[in-house]
């Protein structure tokens, strides 16, 4: 099992496209950090206008913690694409390359093959999130220093003391791994249906974009389905940056994401076991 997993990981990290994701995270973080260094205070004060009119806020506002949060927020849509780049290729890529039938002639069950590919995709996803933590958080702390963190929500202004922030990031990145694993499992499912990897990648992005829009539209028509969309729960990492962390709600979101992941994976296994492999 471990040997097969290592082979899958070798295949993932042998492909140049895998490093596109790490390059995108690096470039986005650096561009954002440069922009925040140049005019971050003005940018942030625009968002704080209502507060600044009434309160005089002083200190290192544009610090590493805040910049990291803004980077994570801006990468909310992009990271699923980067995960889909690899997970969407897991089965469809083999089918496209004509190697899927060859693999299945080996004494490896289809279920085990799907599980190993899912595990390899999950490890890649976790490594991407760790790299995001290095670039967005640790590099920002190096460049901007630390300090108390301001979190602007749509109707709430939150200030977190600097000694109370790092553990929140650890939990947030942990939650992000879970959320992105859900994306990986969705991509795997779509990958099982396709014979080339472009389709699953685009389909994954399409679903994420449409569901994200639905999650953020506060129209009565959509509010009924919001609790059932995984995209409504993917932003659960933000809950760790509330003054009083809503553990119950985050736990519920984590459970929803876990159920979605299990559901996607089970569906992939079911379909893949019955699929007629012709390539």
């Amino acid at each position: 099992m471990i040997r097969l997993l290592l082979i899958e990981l070798y295949k993932i990290f042998r492909r140049p496209r895998t490093y596109i994701s790490f390059g995108v995270v690096t470039a986005t973080s650096l561009i954002f950090q440069l922009a925040m260094k140049a005019g971050g205070r003005e940018f942030f004060e625009f968002g704080m206008q209502d507060i600044s009119e009434q309160f005089n806020i002083q200190g290192n506002i544009i610090n590493g913690y805040l910049v990291a949060y803004l980077i994570l927020q801006s990468l909310l849509i992009q990271i699923p694409l980067l995960v889909a780049l690899v997970a969407g290729d897991a089965l469809a890529g083999e089918a496209n390359g004509g190697t899927l039938r060859l693999i299945l002639t080996r004494p490896v069950s289809r279920t085990r093959l799907v599980m190993i590919k899912f595990m390899a995709s999950s490890i890649y996803t976790i490594m991407l999130i760790v790299w995001l933590a290095v670039m967005a958080l640790f590099l920002s702390l190096l460049v901007f220093g630390d300090g108390d963190m301001i979190n602007l929500k749509s109707e709430t202004f939150i200030l977190l003391l600097k000694h109370d922030v790092m553990w929140r990031y650890a939990c947030a990145f942990g939650f992000a791994c879970l959320a992105m694993t859900t994306i990986a499992s969705l991509s795997m499912l779509l990958s099982a249906f396709a014979d080339n990897s472009i389709g699953p990648i685009i389909a994954t992005m399409g679903i994420v974009v449409v569901f994200t829009i639905l999650s953020n539209l506060e129209l009565p028509l959509f509010t009924a389905i919001n609790p059932y969309l995984f995209t409504s729960h993917m932003v659960g990492w933000k809950g760790f940056f509330d003054a009083d962390v809503p553990y119950r709600a985050i736990g519920k979101s984590a459970m929803v994401l876990f159920l979605y992941t299990s559901g996607f994976l089970a569906a992939t296994i079911l379909y893949f076991n019955k699929k007629d492999i012709t390539s």
Partner: protein, 237 residues
């Protein structure tokens, strides 16, 4: 007859003019006591209670220099204080320059028998329209002020005194003030909803302003030691 009428009229007005004069004297004495503090440095603990703010208790150093310079500094941290015109020092809420002082009766607050003074500034350059001050005549201390400003609503200060009462410096100040509502588009913040799909609570009718409260506890003071203006420069901008 005219002399009798003039006598009766004078007799009727005399208490009022005497009271106004007493009130004016009391106010000026209080003001001169407050103004003996030219500057101070204080270790403070600030608690901000505004409905849309989630802020822990902030500990830091508060610098004050007469007449209206105030700055809070927290080592490597962010400090928040109300804007200048609704300042947290008694000195800046008691109108300076020419004033008209009226006696507005008496009241009891926390066991202190207090005289209420209404102070109307002769000019409105400070932005203060009217100040009501609850003064303990014996101690010569203001226990409450209610200042109506031109642009920033009404600010109420409740003061508690301890070992620095001789300077009219409080151990604790509770500021109650009008705060405007705060809102950003949800599409920009992409908030995490604890219960997705739950309808939002309706906004309370009756205007966009609400009351906020800020408690400042002064732990220690260093008074009139001399402070440089450079301390008050905003280095972060």
């Amino acid at each position: 007859m005219i002399r009798v009428l003039a006598f009766v009229f004078t007799l009727f007005l005399l208490p009022f003019t005497t009271m106004a004069s007493d009130a004016q004297g009391l106010y000026l004495t209080l003001r001169s006591k407050v103004l003996t503090v030219k500057d101070y440095t204080a270790d403070v603990r600030v608690l901000i209670d505004v409905s849309y703010m989630q802020i822990p208790t902030l500990e830091g150093m508060l610098y004050y220099k007469a007449p209206d310079k105030v700055k809070m500094v927290r080592k490597d941290g962010i400090s928040m204080l109300p804007r200048k015109n609704i300042s947290l020092t008694l000195g800046s809420l008691i109108p300076s320059g020419g004033v008209t002082v009226l006696d507005a009766g008496t009241a009891t607050i926390k066991g202190h028998n207090l005289r209420i003074l209404k102070v109307i500034p002769d000019d409105d350059k400070t932005g203060i329209v009217l100040t009501r001050i609850w003064v303990d005549e014996g101690e010569l201390l203001a226990y409450r002020t209610e200042t109506t400003t031109r642009d920033e609503g009404t600010v109420v200060l409740d003061l508690e005194y301890g070992s620095y009462a001789r300077y009219a410096l409080p151990d604790k100040v509770s500021i109650t003030m009008d705060v405007k509502e705060y809102k950003l588009p949800k599409g920009a913040t992409m908030d995490y909803s604890e219960a997705p799909g739950t309808p939002k609570k309706p906004v309370a009718a009756g205007g966009k302003n609400e009351k906020g409260r800020i408690d400042i506890t002064y732990l220690s003071y260093k008074v009139n030691k001399g402070l440089s203006d450079s301390i008050f420069a905003d280095k972060d901008k």
